[in-house]
Amino acid sequence: MKETTSFGKERELTPEDLKRLLTRLAPDPEVAGGKYEELRRQLIKFFEWRGSFFPDELADETINRLAQKIKEDKEIKKGINALALGIARFVFLESLKRPDRRRVEMEVLTDVAAPPEQRDEDDDLWLACLKECLRSITDENREIILEYYQDERRAKIDDRRLLAAKLGISPNGLFSRARRIRDKLEQCVSRCVKRKSKGAA
């Protein structure tokens, strides 16, 4: 399946731009790195929820433009997140108007009413990659994922509260942590599936 976009290499994020952006996010480099990842994730989700087929690319384009804005206008009154959202909306509207959008492969434009009830070969690959990626994370993180995302019929609210108490964090904190672990796990599995698919091909 091929996906193309015209938001290619027009404006790449230079190291200086990235450093400037990170400094605006937080003075501490480590904290700034975390905030950058979170912002990028949030932008990807925004584009996904808006129905974009290329959320990652649009998110990167948004960040590029955000860094340029910071470079050009040092006196930014809005918060970084609010500014990023404004830029993201422009980027999304532009993506709807671009003729490149029509270059998406037909395979992507599946009939929305066709549920994938049957398992395909891909599912086994995803399962294998997930097991591989689960072995690469810490025992504690693995425990959190396996405990938190149990079948809802079994996992009651009390079980999650007990897990949060065991870890010494609040229930909301537990969800945030579980979500971050799940996102990283999903990225790991996506890369693994891509790698193995290319290898198989």
Partner: protein, 328 residues
Amino acid sequence: MEQTYSSEDLIKQYLFGELSAAEQIALEDEYFIDQAKYDQLRKVEEELLDRYARGSLSATDRERFERCYLANPARRRHLKFARALAQVIDEESATRAATWSEQIVGHRRELSWWSQFAGWPRGLRFALSLAAAIAVLVIGFGGAWLILETSRLRAQLAAAQLESARQQQRVEAQTQQIVVLEAQSRQLAEESERLKAQLQTMKETGSSSGSGSARAFLALSINEFRGSGDQEPRTLIIPRGAEEVRLRLDLPEHEFSTFQLQLLTADGREVYTRKDLRPQATRAVDYVIVDLPVYKIASGDNVIAVSGISATGEVEILGKVVIKVRRQ
């Protein structure tokens, strides 16, 4: 009805693309600024994905989900991951359940010691049971004896401590009595000396009734002058025809070479004075003798004052004594 942007239904509508443009923008403004709101959206989306993967979505939600998520490749990837995750978790849960069951069975086997014990020979079982019973009895009796013995010893200790306290009190009381008796003894000794001296004086000077040189006698101790003044006045009975009162003043301890004696009225007026009285030494006590003319002594209260005179001529008043005089 006013919608609250944080409700689960509103979030579902957003995720399924069913909100108006204005509602969309409002919710995005909210979750881009508020991390908690963003977490809530992610939580709702995850639950939709996981429920769909397990086939537990309602019919309505399943239709909406399929319309939005399955048409988007990025969202389909999320579903594949959710499906794989559900399978791994179910496999893990099944493995854990099987492991717990095996452990429970193993523990039950280990815990069945009674059944193991029941398999031993009858004689051995009886001997062991008897030994255990005897051991329990010995321990029980031993424990009871220890408790009783400890209680008895504690009672003894308490009684001994009480007796010790009482004896201590007795010793203190006796010590006080000794002090009092010693003081009384000293007073009695002084009184005895004074009386002996008076008797001696009477013997030395002699006494005759009706003669022209009749005397009255009075013996005093310097200690009476140094008293607080609370003692009862001494009584002097002057017989008829007496012309003098011989006063003997005992000086058991003194630091003066000479003394002075004054006779005063009750209101302090000086009537008679004798100076340069030098003590006469005896084996028992030093003393001075003063002869007071009777006509100088009034009936009733009289005061005798004694003073010591130092080598430099300084006069120090040693004290006063009240004498009640009666004439026969």
